[in-house]
């Protein structure tokens, strides 16, 4: 029979933990054998010890040197301007921004620029495709309804003046819709051309890669031209979409 109390048991357990001894390594078992509550606690702690061993063995790794040096060389000040409890500690800090050697590339920023350009192109493409879809699905119905109107007017000899007015209105509407559609398509094409120039200019402005900034070593930092390669399929698809738009563009409506 154990003479140890539950409080003593817990104190010993805490001391064992602080001394980095596992539950198995301390002689707590005699009390735990007689006390269901402490036995349950012992089981819990033994399980946790196993989990901690596995957790310690699964330590993650990361390669941050290139990214940190690139941000340092470019004077990335995002993190020293916010207030997060360390502002006093950093007050008056001297920034190490004048490191020797050529400036390394900043791949994360290139990727951010590429993402912004891609988002813009995608937005323009979405608008153009929406209009194209609208034209594709609505034009036949409009034409059909127009023909119905014209037919019904032709068979209404007692209202010739009203029929003439309807014809003129329909013709005007169709011409306006066609004209607006062509303007929109041309605007979209112009926007794409501008985006392409911007991509090319950004690529030319990117500084040359240096050995010190061997960005390819970092798993999250792709080579400098990776984003451009990513954009090419988007541009190709966009060109195909524009071709399609011009193909389906309605001709000026014939005189009714």
């Amino acid at each position: 029979m154990s003479t140890m109390s539950c409080a003593e048991f817990e104190r010993l357990l805490e001391a064992a933990i602080e001394g980095r001894s596992t539950v198995d390594e301390v002689s707590l078992d005699r009390h735990a054998a007689d006390c269901p509550a402490c036995r349950a606690l012992c089981e819990q702690q033994r399980l946790l010890d196993q989990a901690i061993v596995a957790w310690q063995a699964s330590a993650p790794e990361a390669e941050l040197a290139d990214a940190v040096l690139a941000r340092l060389a470019f004077g990335d000040a995002d993190d020293v301007t916010d207030s997060d409890g360390l502002s006093i500690e950093l007050e008056g800090s001297r920034s190490i921004t004048s490191l020797p050697g050529p400036a390394p590339v900043v791949p994360t920023r290139s990727r951010a620029t590429a993402r912004r350009i891609a988002s813009g192109i995608a937005a323009v493409a979405a608008v153009v495709l929406l209009v194209a879809g609208w034209q594709w699905f609505r034009s036949p119905q409009d034409t059909e309804s127009t023909q119905l109107v014209v037919t019904s007017v032709e068979h209404a000899p007692d209202v010739p003046a009203e029929a003439d007015d309807n014809d003129a209105e329909v013709e005007t509407l169709l011409r306006s819709a066609s004209s607006a559609y062509r303007v929109l398509a041309l605007d979209a094409a112009s926007a794409v051309a501008d985006a392409s120039k911007l991509v090319a200019a950004t690529n030319r402005l990117a500084p040359p890669e240096t050995p010190a900034a061997a960005v390819g070593n970092h798993p999250d930092v792709p080579p400098d031209d990776a984003w451009e390669r990513d954009l090419k399929p988007i541009g190709r698809q966009f060109g195909e979409a524009l071709d399609f738009l011009f193909d389906v563009a309605p001709e000026p409506p014939p005189s009714i």
Binding site: E14, I17, E18, D24, S27, D29, R30, A32, A33, R39, C42, E43, Q44, Q45, R46, L47, L48, Q50, A51, I52, A54, W55, Q56, A57, S58, A59, P60, E61, A62, E63, L64, A65, A67, V68, L69, R71, L72, D76, D78, D79, V80, D84, G85, L86, E89, L90, S93, R94, S95, I96, S98, L99, P100, G101, A212, D220
Partner: protein, 189 residues
């Protein structure tokens, strides 16, 4: 580079302060694992951990001149890292995220027991109070004593000990709730 790899922390810091890029790289490479490890354990998500670890390393480099060379460098770095992680957690707690759900899915993807245990413990860590988690991570990941942790987070040693004990108890209860049972069952000795 060999001399940089074996240089003591103070010598490395002097080279950094002199604007030596190789010295800066060596310092980052020496401590990136420790900083990232703490960030990952504290934040629970690799992307967040990488972002915060980069910021921590930048802060360290920019405030090296404030480090007292008569004291060890590592606790100073750990203090900055822990502070930054806690700040990030406070910000993140104000944003609606589905981190718990994502973490839950991540746990279910593992196959063997050791990985499951590690993942379950990492998931359970995210549910702890920040102070408990900080104590647990610094104690078990960085092998700091309760006194060292207390000095670092400016708390009495007894408080750290209590927090560590509560962290352990909550983690153990979480594992038990998740249906994980120990390999070795209780035996009388």
């Amino acid at each position: 580079m060999d001399s940089l790899a074996t240089a003591d922390d103070a010598a490395l810091v002097r080279r950094c302060l002199a604007g030596d890029e190789a010295g800066v790289r060596a310092l980052v490479e020496r401590f990136q694992g420790m900083v990232f490890g703490i960030c990952f354990r504290m934040l629970g998500q690799r992307e967040d951990a990488e972002d915060v670890a980069q910021e921590v390393l930048l802060r360290i480099l920019r405030s090296l001149h404030r480090w007292d060379p008569s004291r060890p460098l590592k606790p100073w770095l750990l203090t900055i890292t822990a502070n930054r992680c806690r700040t990030f957690l406070e910000k993140r707690s104000r944003q609606p995220l589905c981190g718990d759900f994502v973490a839950q899915l991540a746990v279910e993807e593992h196959g063997n027991r050791s990985q499951d245990l590690a993942a379950e413990l990492q998931l359970a860590l995210q549910k702890l109070r920040d102070e408990y988690r900080t104590c647990f991570v610094l104690f078990y990941q960085e092998q700091l004593s309760c006194s060292e942790i207390g000095d670092m987070i400016r708390c009495p040693r007894g408080t750290v000990k209590t927090w560590l004990h509560r962290a352990r108890r909550e983690l153990a209860e979480h594992l038990q709730r998740r249906g994980i049972v120990p390999d070795v069952h209780y035996e009388l000795r």
